[in-house]
C-alpha cells in the first residue's frame, strides 16, 4: 500500500530513532511512504492558546496529505494523531468553523478533503497489514524477552473520535510484541501517562510521572519498555536520567520504539534502526536477544 506520512515536530527535531525505524520497517512490509511537501506543526501546543488556530493547522496538514493523492495518512505521533482527529471531527460537525477554515486554506490554494484516512503505526500494523503479515516478516524471533507495553494516552482516548485501540484495555501493541516472539507483561501502571505535556508548564511534575512508572517497571523486572509515541519516547528514554534524579531512584529500564523492536526481529541493522541514539540502557536488552 501507499500512504502519506506526517511526522509532526517532535520526531523531526529529535526523536530520530523513531523516524529511522519507521522508514526502515514500513517499506519492507510493503508500505510505501510519501513525505508531505512541507513540515508543519499539527497544532497541539496551539490548542491551549487558540483552539481555532490549532484546528486550522491540522486542516492544513490534511490538505497537504491530500496533495499526495494517496488517501491514507500515517501519523506516528500520538499527540498529532489526536489533534488531527479532533480537528477532523470539529470540521465535520461545526459548519461555521468548517467554512472559515476552508476559506483560510483557499488563500494558499489548498483544499480540504474529509476522506483522508488516519493511521497510527499500531493500527496500520495490527489492523491494516495484520499480525500474520508481521509474523511472516520476522526472521529472528525475540524469544525470551519479557517486555512491558506503553501505548500512550492520546491514541486511546476519547472513543467518540474513533481511536486506535480500546480506551481502558488496549491489547494491540501487546499482540504486536507477541508477533515478534517476545512476551508482553501485563502491569498495573499500564495506562499511566508519561507526563510529556507538563514539560510546557511543570517540568518536575512531568518527570515525576515518568519516574514513577519506570520505578514500578523496574520493580517488576521487565527486560524493557516498548513505546510508540515520540512524547513517550522522549520522556522514558531521552529523559530517563532526569526522571531518575527527580524521583530519587536509580533507573535502568531499556526503552525502545516498537518499530525498532520489529526491525530487530526482521534482521535489520541496529544502526539503521537508530538504536545507537537511545539514551536508556538498550544494551542489556540487545545482549539478551544477541542480535
Amino acid at each position: 500500500m501507499k500512504t502519506a506520512v506526517f511526522w509532526g515536530c517532535r520526531i523531526l527535531v529529535g526523536q530520530y530513532a523513531y523516524e529511522m525505524s519507521v522508514r526502515e520497517v514500513m517499506p519492507k512490509l510493503g508500505v510505501e511512504l510519501f513525505d508531505l511537501r512541507e513540515a508543519l506543526c499539527c497544532g497541539d501546543p496551539v490548542k491551549s492558546v487558540n483552539d481555532f488556530a490549532a484546528t486550522y493547522l491540522s486542516a492544513r496538514v490534511l490538505a497537504l496529505a491530500n496533495l499526495t493523492g494517496t488517501g491514507d495518512l500515517l501519523v506516528p505521533c500520538n499527540r498529532c494523531h489526536f489533534t488531527i482527529s479532533e480537528a477532523k471531527n470539529t470540521i465535520n460537525t461545526n459548519s461555521q468553523v468548517s467554512e472559515k477554515i476552508k476559506g483560510l486554506l483557499k488563500e494558499e490554494g489548498l483544499g480540504y478533503n474529509p476522506d483522508v484516512r488516519l493511521w497510527h503505526v499500531i493500527d496500520l500494523l495490527h489492523d491494516r497489514l495484520g499480525l500474520d503479515r508481521v509474523k511472516k516478516a520476522v526472521v529472528k524471533p525475540l524469544k525470551g524477552l519479557r517486555l512491558a507495553s506503553h501505548v500512550g494516552c492520546q491514541i486511546l482516548r476519547y472513543t467518540d473520535l474513533g481511536r486506535v485501540d480500546d480506551a481502558e484495555d488496549p491489547k494491540k501493541l501487546d499482540y504486536l510484541i507477541g508477533a515478534v516472539g517476545a512476551e508482553s507483561v501485563d502491569y498495573a501502571e499500564k495506562l499511566d501517562c508519561c507526563g510529556a505535556h507538563l514539560l510546557l508548564s511543570h517540568v518536575d511534575s512531568a518527570l515525576s510521572l515518568t519516574g514513577a512508572k519506570l520505578k514500578a517497571l523496574q520493580a517488576l523486572g521487565v527486560d524493557g519498555l516498548v513505546v510508540s509515541c515520540p512524547d513517550c519516547g522522549l520522556m522514558y528514554d531521552s529523559r530517563q536520567k532526569d526522571a531518575a534524579t527527580t524521583v530519587g531512584a536509580k533507573l535502568n529500564v531499556p526503552v525502545v520504539y516498537y518499530t525498532q523492536l520489529l526491525g530487530l526481529a526482521m534482521g535489520i541493522d541496529q544502526e539503521k534502526l537508530g538504536l545507537q541514539l537511545n539514551q536508556s540502557s538498550v544494551e542489556t536488552l540487545l545482549t539478551k536477544v544477541s542480535v
Binding site: V13, E38, A53, Y158
Partner: protein, 170 residues
C-alpha cells in the same frame, strides 16, 4: 488554601460564563452532576491537586474570571481520561482548554513555553527547533549525519494565513 476558598469573596460573572459555554459547543458542561469520576482518575490530582469536578462546578456557577487567572488550569496533563470516563459528556478537558484560551485572550499569566511554541510555528512551521542527539559514544548526530531527509518549512504564504487564524476565535 484550596481552589474553592479563593472563591469565597468572588462574585459570579455570567458574561464570562457565557463566553466559556460558547467555546464548548456540544460539550455538555451543565449536565455535570459532580460524580467525581474525572477527579478520581485524574493524572494531575496527586501531583498538582487538580480536581476537574471542582472546575466544572465553578464554571457552572460563573466563577470563570478567577479560574482563567489561576495556575490550576495549566496543571492538566491532557491524558483525556476524564473525557473518556465522564458519564455526562461534560468533558473537563475541554472546559480546561476553553479556560486556557480565555486566559490567553485576557493576557493573563500563561506559561511561557506555550507562547514560545506559537511564535516558533509562525517563524518556521514547527513548534521546536532541530536538535543534535549525543550517543553513548559521545558522537553528536543531527538529521544530516543520520541521512534523514532535509526538513522543508512551509511556504511564505503560510505565515500570513496562520496569523489570520490566530486572530480568529472559536
Amino acid at each position: 488554601m484550596g481552589l474553592t476558598d479563593l472563591m469565597s469573596m468572588a462574585k459570579p460573572n455570567l458574561e464570562s460564563r457565557r463566553k466559556v459555554l460558547s467555546k464548548l459547543k456540544g460539550k455538555e458542561l451543565v449536565n455535570c452532576f459532580q460524580c467525581m469520576r474525572c477527579t478520581s482518575g485524574c493524572t494531575s490530582l496527586k501531583l498538582l491537586e487538580l480536581e476537574p469536578h471542582e472546575i466544572e462546578k465553578l464554571v457552572t456557577l460563573g466563577f470563570v474570571d478567577e479560574l482563567a487567572a489561576s495556575d490550576i488550569i495549566w496543571t492538566c496533563v491532557t491524558c483525556l481520561k476524564c473525557v473518556e470516563r465522564c458519564p455526562q459528556k461534560a468533558s473537563p478537558y475541554h472546559v480546561i482548554l476553553a479556560l486556557r484560551n480565555l486566559a490567553v485572550e485576557r493576557e493573563a499569566k500563561v506559561p511561557e513555553a506555550f507562547m514560545k511554541a506559537v511564535s516558533q510555528i509562525l517563524e518556521t512551521g514547527l513548534a521546536e527547533s532541530p536538535q543534535k542527539v549525543t550517543t553513548k559514544k559521545m558522537e553528536a548526530f543531527g538529521r544530516e549525519g543520520l541521512k534523514l531527509p532535509k526538513v522543508c518549512g512551509p511556504k511564505e504564504s503560510f505565515q500570513m494565513v496562520f496569523f489570520k487564524a490566530l486572530e480568529e476565535r472559536q
